[in-house]
Point group: C2
């Protein structure tokens, strides 16, 4: 880290200059009050010649000269007012209205792999319901021996598990199929979050109700106004599907399915049905609206892929990005996120020249299956333009494809499952733009 | 899960009864408006004979009959209104005022190992300052070759790491030294939280400034009104101490040191100095107020332990607890948290009879060093009274002591480091109380 920092002497001057220019009304008022009292008590101007600004060393900011707010002033904490720009955002032209729409997680601002609950992306089909957990019920019926209706208290009696897993909308990056459109990482990849989820394995609940012969699919239905439904193969349901009621330690947020949702790790986010009220066991899929007219992938020949559940291996560089340009030449940590619905990330490669040459990045911190994985690459930027790319490989050997490779198979008509290598163009100014190269 | 659930038929009747008793003004208003319009358009009472309540199946709650709120209605999300009781709480008699006080994490409500940022316990010495990150500086000086003043942008240029670690105030459980006082898990153990922290290893910053001969201690100083200070041995600073600016993916919360704090994993929380503005390198500790008159442990002979940094191995049963009694006989998952400032938890034992017999619990999910670790024990409760205890053992072989063992060494005068085995008394009613047994 020899580049990109000021000389200490320069910065100390800068600090002194800035600190001295700060408004210090509280400090002045406090000190002048003190002097007045001292003068009154001593009946003489003993300290009157002292400039109150000399009574404390210079450069001490107002927050060190005063007392702050007390405990439980904010019983449920909120971010600093200086972080007001770190919020979910929507793209108004993307959908007809905001009750059947999407908001995006501010990926440029996130660190590590956990997405705080307040910033988890939103996707609704009929808006967020405010469900009273005491009134809510989860019914499990169909091809089962002992159909069951569970209260939330009933559900929480079952043994639980906690896992850190990503959730991604399959439309993530969907605006990029035909050409680079979104000039912000928050919008190119922000339908993506990763939390610690707690709930009951669906396999445990299915053991409780007892599957009948022929059971092969599970219909999950939400309690929202859309009564959102998806058909889930029993193989997945018995593998790692969870019925979850908590995220990052606390109850699900309303927009994430409070009080209970399905979680199909690594699969299209919409299959993790929120506000879950019903699980029906059947012998075939139901072909509901959200798995026929929507959430299918239109191919060049006019046919559509259906039940394309798995979120394929993907990655993106999160620094630099359009929202976080480089500000000067020097040494930087290029950072990004990789994820795969098929398991763990094995490795990530970085290209600085649009895919001609590749170098191995470092995986940082926890590398968990079906979870965001952070990668890092130290780079001395000499001020030249560059085409920055990342390419993830998962533990099954799947290699994230190029856009050309993906289009060769899927065409450009689909909205979903665009997991191709993403390119940021870094200009000599340090600015970053979204470009597509073949 | 054969115990503790209703028969399906019973519950279905119950659901129907409850749903029918729900106020459905929205549904009625909507349907009646629809009928009126239909009638006007058709100029006849075509549908007038239809009872609007027959138009939809019974038992459908209002949130399924209406549209919810749209995306980014809440750009930074908040919990459901039905979770308003899940908040940090303080004990007013514990401290003279609330700017030098403590609030407690609601452990009974938490799942998994991550504490959401809004519920992380608070401990201040002069209240929470609102620091402008653009004005904030971190100075590193003393026995160094190249003293340095860093802006937040400078700091974020260094390569970062992310780790999940607990933070605990050494006073956690301090009211229990002489006898059981607090009738709530939130207050017996709630000065405890666990987050994913992101920042720069202090070792990287110390390499940047270059240590001079004789460097052996680091003084950390906060920018709050208390200018809180602690002396940290260089060995720790070069091992796993971090200078962190993010927790659970987002910027530190103001009450957690925004914009930057120290993190000494596994050590007394107060050493992880918040609102960090200065690191001074020296050849010996400074013996500041918060490591002499406070944060030392008064022994029976009148002497005091000093620099007792490590938070020793500890555990507590979080379900059942005073706030979460058992409600009926049957099968339950007894759950709890274990943690050690010395490394990973190796195992946790459970006693149902106040320490006479012990059985091994299951460790659930991630078992990370210096992080909360969740344990689980399936139990069929027959309605008899019980004395529930947990005993953690860490990877170094340290076994959580009994209260008698701890008192034999430390007496009852200390405020800090009470990590002895905790006992909950379960009554025949299912109620849980805090008791101490020898």
């Amino acid at each position: 880290m020899s580049k990109g920092r000021h000389e200490p002497a320069d910065i100390l001057s800068l600090v002194a200059e800035k600190a001295n220019s700060l408004p210090l009304p509280e400090r002045r008022a406090f000190l002048l009050r003190g002097l007045a009292l001292a003068g009154a008590a001593a009946a003489g101007p003993v300290l009157a010649a002292v400039d109150p600004d000399d009574a404390l060393p210079p450069n001490i900011p107002p927050w060190t000269r005063s007392l702050g707010r007390g405990v439980v002033t904010v019983p449920y904490g909120v971010p600093s007012e200086f972080e007001a720009n770190v919020i979910r955002r929507t793209v108004p032209w993307l959908t007809a209205n905001n009750i059947s729409s999407i908001s995006f997680t501010p990926l440029p601002e996130l660190k590590g792999i956990i997405t705080p609950n307040g910033l988890v992306f939103e996707r609704y089909h009929a808006g967020v319901p405010d469900i009273d957990p005491d009134q809510h019920r989860l019914m499990i019926h169909g091809l089962v021996e002992r159909p069951l209706v569970l209260t939330m208290n009933d559900l929480m009696r079952f043994p639980s598990v906690s896992v850190i897993r990503f959730i991604e909308c399959p439309a993530n990056g969907g605006m990029e199929w035909r050409g680079a459109q979104m000039e912000a990482l928050q919008f190119t990849h922000g339908m993506l979050s990763c939390c610690e989820w707690t709930g009951v394995p669906l396999s445990v609940l299915l053991e409780e109700v007892g599957l009948k012969k022929g059971a092969a699919w599970v219909l999950a239905e939400g309690a929202d106004g859309a009564a959102m439904t998806r058909s889930i193969p029993l193989e997945k349901a018995l593998d790692d599907t969870l019925v979850v009621y908590a995220q990052n330690g606390e109850a699900l947020r309303p927009e994430q399915g409070y009080p209970v949702r399905l979680l199909n790790p690594g699969w299209e986010g919409n299959t993790s049905v929120k506000w879950l009220r019903r699980l029906e066991i059947g012998d075939q899929p139901w072909y509901q609206r959200e798995e026929t007219s929507k959430y299918t992938d239109l191919m060049p020949d006019g046919r559509a892929r259906k039940f394309s559940f798995t979120q394929e291996t993907n990655s993106v560089i999160t620094f630099p990005c359009p929202e976080k340009p480089l500000t000067q030449r020097g040494r930087y940590e290029i950072e990004g996120l990789a994820w795969s619905g098929r398991g763990r990330i094995r490795s990530v490669d970085i290209s600085l020249d649009g895919g001609v040459n590749w170098r191995r990045a470092e995986l940082k911190g926890l590398v968990l299956p079906k979870a965001l994985t952070r990668f890092s690459f130290m780079w001395d930027w000499d001020g030249s333009p560059a085409l920055l790319q990342s390419r993830a490989i998962d533990e099954t050997g799947y290699v994230q494809p190029t856009l050309t490779q993906l289009r060769a198979v899927r065409g450009v008509e689909s909205i979903y499952h665009k997991n191709s290598i993403h390119t940021w163009r870094l200009a000599e100014t340090g600015e970053v733009t979204n470009v597509q190269i073949d």
